[in-house]
């Protein structure tokens, strides 16, 4: 396998592994938010706002990996 092949492989691994972590993170986040809303429905507005900010932060990690994947694909080979 040449350098470009390794780059493609690592690009796939980068986004895949980041997807695992981010999926677990977002799952926890939304699950706990739903628990919170179920316990205290009157606080749902504030909880949703904080949840969306949290999802934004968590999701960004996967998107960094996506950027790294693009760099690997398009700067080698």
């Amino acid at each position: 396998m040449d350098a470009h092949g390794f780059a493609l492989l690592s690009a796939g691994l980068a986004i895949g592994l980041a997807g695992i972590g981010t999926g677990i993170g977002v799952g926890f986040l939304v699950g706990k938010s739903v628990e919170g809303i179920a316990r205290q429905p009157e606080a749902s507005g504030a909880i949703q706002g904080v949840m969306l900010i949290g999802i934004g932060f968590t999701e960004a990690i996967a998107l960094y990996a996506l950027v790294i994947s693009f760099l690997l694909i398009f700067t080698t080979g």
């Binding site: 504030a46 900010i53 934004g56 998107l63 996506l66």
Partner: protein, 244 residues
Amino acid sequence: MNILEEFFLKVYVPIKFFGIDISITNLVVWMFAATVGVFVVLFLLSRNMKILPNKRQTFVEFIYYFIDKSIIGLAIGRGGEKWMPFLGTIFIFIFANNIIGLIPHSYTPTSNPIVPATLAIVVFFTIHVTNIKRNGITGYLRSFVPRGVPIWMLPLVIPIEIISTIAKPFSLLVRLTANMLAGHIVILVLISLILLFKSYLIAIPVLPFTVIIYIFELFVAGLQAYIFTILSAVYIGEAIHPRH
């Protein structure tokens, strides 16, 4: 077949201004379209305002209320009213630019790093100038030193604080760009599957799924505008009411 071809800039009118390239590209055309479109819509909707709002005015008031309550009220709180024009502009601009990219064969201005980068740089300087104006130069430098940290830890903590300050606009930029890019690439890849397999049968599962992803993209367009604005508001709130 290059899937990223949709995201390349095409120069329509090359303009050089003192050695700086300010050509009219497809990005510029679609950004102008978004800006003019949102201006026309909001102008027509908010003409001759009344105390008792009719349907058109209710829509504009809903947008204002949304930005005021669930962005500024949540993130800045007290003394946040005067940030309404700035944050409202950012929200509506990003939202219009995200939405216009969903027109088939258009260009999403926010999927090119340069547009979010410009907005992130504006936010970065807004945060720091506000911090210096509100807290003075000592208060500004104080914001890099967290309270309650032992003296011998400071050589480690202060560089981390400085790095996190620089990482804030960078993460704003990457989050918006990558979200827009990734969503559009997913749609493009799904549609390209039909061309790749050269079969009409593959269209039967692909097309409904594409429609679902497209509707999800409408949601993401609003969500990303919201997240960019609320994070800017959180950073501005930290600058106005320093916690340490």
